[in-house]
């Protein structure tokens, strides 16, 4: 039995369809990532899986319980870290955990030991008595991770857990999640728009865009699934008409995507393609303004499956989740 089994789930807000019939399954013990830009439908998806939003159609079975017919059992078996920082700033770290342990009905005897264990796991034992408002953003996230585990769930949902954190805190959160997942035999589902986070943390990734599932596999397999082993990103000064077609004839080139005068060239031989490109530009009198060669990334995977770069999609997308906000 899969830990999470999402079946043709749909969510409509009026005329707008935020999630368009997505299905996937997450196996026990996996760290599973939903990767996509803001507004892709990730948060709507996770809110349906965590019973915060009712689906318009379809369903999901979480730890054997249906989110539509048995939401209470679902809630008992999952831990959830929402996108916003939702700890009580006025309460201490320990009090935050205590209140949620009581909300989940954790017994008095188990509560004390469990809270101590979790504080140890998120390295906040020394801060247990401090009010959350005195902690850094990374530490607050760790409080929330501990809070989400205070009833010993089997499945842990995290909605963009590292958004707004500095790079050091992000890496610390990843390491903590990996360790906790190992210790507690958790299944973890996270949403993220950070490619490196999805790449380094997740066992499998589902790429979501415009409410649709575009691709699903391990990061390695996803990268291997697209043409080219290298990506050249190059911009030109005064590229003549038809320049893109000229570039397609360069050695090793498999695919070219142009966006905002920047050409992303997939190549199975990056150095050879780059060298030929420089010669061609010199002959044609076209100025090469910038050129970079890199190995295939998840952004390239995103470009391949979604038809646009994830970073561009992030810039285009609204910063907040409007599909959610307008229906609150």
């Amino acid at each position: 039995m899969s830990a999470i089994d999402v079946r043709q789930i749909v969510k409509r807000f009026g005329d707008f369809t935020a999630v368009k019939g997505i299905s996937f399954a997450v196996e026990e013990g996996e760290i599973f990532g939903l990767l996509g830009p803001n507004g892709a439908g990730k948060s709507t998806l996770i809110r349906m899986m965590t019973t915060l939003l009712p689906p318009t159609s379809g369903t999901a079975v979480i730890h054997g319980h249906d989110i539509v017919t048995d939401p209470d059992r679902v809630r008992r078996s999952i831990g959830v870290i929402p996108q916003a920082m939702t700890s009580d700033l006025e309460l201490s770290v320990e009090e935050n955990l205590l209140i949620f342990a009581k909300l989940y009905g954790v017994s008095r005897e188990r509560r004390r030991a469990l809270i101590a264990e979790l504080l140890e796991a998120v390295e906040l034992t020394a801060w247990a008595d401090k009010q959350v408002k005195n902690l850094s953003g990374g530490m607050r996230r760790r409080v929330e991770i501990a809070r989400g585990l205070v009833h010993e769930p089997r499945i842990f949902f995290l909605d963009e857990p590292t958004t707004g954190l500095d790079p050091v805190s992000r890496v610390a959160v990843w390491e903590m999640l990996r360790a906790i997942k190992r210790q507690r035999e958790l299944t973890v589902l996270i949403t993220t728009h950070y490619m490196d986070e999805a790449d380094k943390l997740c066992d499998r990734i589902a790429i979501v865009d415009h409410g649709e599932l575009k691709a699903l596999d391990s990061p390695l397999k996803l990268k291997a699934s697209i043409p080219g082993t290298n990506t050249l990103e190059v911009s030109f000064g005064g590229a003549p008409p038809g320049w893109g077609r000229a570039l397609e004839r360069l050695p090793g080139v498999e695919r070219i995507v142009e966006h905002d005068h920047v050409f992303r060239i997939s190549s199975d031989n990056g150095p050879a393609s780059a060298s030929a490109l420089m010669e061609l530009s010199a002959r044609a009198g076209v100025d090469v303004q910038s050129l970079s060669i890199q190995s295939t990334t998840l952004d390239d995977v995103f470009v391949h499956y979604a038809g646009r770069a994830l970073r561009d999609a992030l810039q285009e997308a609204p910063a907040t989740d409007f599909t959610f906000m307008r229906n609150r």
Binding site: L52, A84, I99, F100, K102, G105, F324, R328
Partner: protein
């Protein structure tokens, strides 16, 4: 039920660490009680009256003497002699004096002839309180003028004897019931409504909604914690206000117990009402924007500052449904008259039914999802 208590515990722990919240919800009603209580409570004094004596006879002198007596005795008026009626009227229009008392030529002759002698009071009626006080003072002066030098041993005319059941009630005491309601309302708005919406906007409610807490447990937790905070506010203001206003025998245990019942009933009614208003609100500006409107709509029609008998019809309709009305009435009964439960039973019934209706409506409207 343990989940309800978890919500209450959380709210009260936060409340304990927010001294500014407690202070802010107390300061306004106390300041209002003191300022309004002493601003409106006193008698009007030192109204400037121009005396224009165009008669100069002995009866006119008697009128002027009575005016001088009122000026030096009750000090309601300051009498200023004017030689010229035109100058006196000009000063009245310019606000230099509040009224002009004219003793017309021939006044003495008419007195002696017993031929309807008249003096005239020309007053600035733009300030109702001032004009009423001035007219009453001059009227009593004229009454004193007309009184016989020696009163008959047995009065021939019917007189009215007024018996006051309760000791004199200064205005500050009259205001206290409204101020207690106000402190409860302030706590309900600041500690209940505003925090509820702020928490919702910050996403804190998402944290609750993913737990197995039921809708009823969640609502009960919010309302119980809000009621406890409002009751604390009501108790503090009742205690401080009773001392400030000088309520006689303020700490009689039986009365305190009855007051506590009214405070609890008022707190629950107002928190239920607030919850109904805010149950579907998500914008943190909404409770702040409606604060002043609700304050005005609930406080002033309740009879807290002015008797409802003086209201126009439409305002009496508001007053009839306003929970403040019943709460203020119950507090007045207990604080000013020290009545028993029978005098406040109808108020408690109304507050209980109001709470039940608003809480049921709020529960029906509450969504256990985003």
């Amino acid at each position: 039920m343990h989940r309800t208590w978890a919500i209450v515990e959380r709210e009260l722990r936060r409340f304990k660490r927010s001294p500014m919240l407690i202070i802010m919800s107390m300061i306004f009603p106390i300041v209002q009680l003191v300022v309004l209580g002493y601003a409106f409570g006193g008698n009007v004094k030192h109204l400037k009256v121009a005396i224009v004596d165009q008669d100069r006879g002995l009866p006119a002198v008697r009128i002027r003497e009575l005016a001088a007596a009122a000026a030096s005795g009750t000090k309601t008026i300051d009498a200023i002699d004017y030689a010229d009626q035109g100058a006196a009227i000009a000063d009245l229009r310019n606000g230099v004096v509040n009224g002009v008392l004219t003793i017309p030529p021939g006044f003495s002759r008419r007195v002696l002839q017993q031929n309807a002698p008249k003096v005239a009071l020309i007053e600035d009626n733009t300030d109702n309180f001032v004009s009423v006080a001035l007219a009453a003072t001059i009227d009593s002066m004229v009454g004193a003028y007309n009184a016989p030098a020696a009163a008959p041993r047995v009065p021939a005319r019917a007189t009215l004897d007024v018996v006051e059941v309760y000791p004199y009630v200064p205005y500050v005491q009259y205001l206290l019931p409204g101020s207690i309601c106000m402190s409860i309302f302030m706590m309900v708005m600041i500690g209940g409504g505003i925090i509820f919406i702020d928490d919702k906007a910050r996403g804190l409610h998402e944290g609750y909604l993913v737990t197995p807490i039921t809708k009823l447990e969640l609502i009960a937790g919010f309302n119980l914690s809000g009621t406890i905070k409002a009751v604390l506010a009501g108790i503090v203001l009742m205690t401080l206000g009773s001392v400030i206003a000088g309520i006689p025998d303020a700490f009689d245990p039986a009365r305190l117990l009855r007051l506590l019942v009214v405070i609890v009933a008022t707190s629950f009614a107002l928190i239920s009402f607030m919850f109904l208003l805010m149950v579907r609100v998500t914008d943190p500006l909404t409770p702040r924007a409606t604060f002043g409107l609700l304050n005005t709509l609930l406080y002033f029609p309740s009879g807290a500052v002015y008797p409802q008998q003086g209201f126009p019809g439409w305002m009496r309709v508001i007053a009839a449904v306003d929970p403040f009305t019943y709460s203020v009435h119950a507090f007045k009964s207990l604080l000013l008259k020290n009545t028993g439960v029978a005098a406040i039973a109808a108020d408690l019934w109304y507050l209980a039914i109001f709470s039940l209706v608003t809480m049921t409506a709020a529960t029906l409207l509450f969504r256990r999802s985003l």
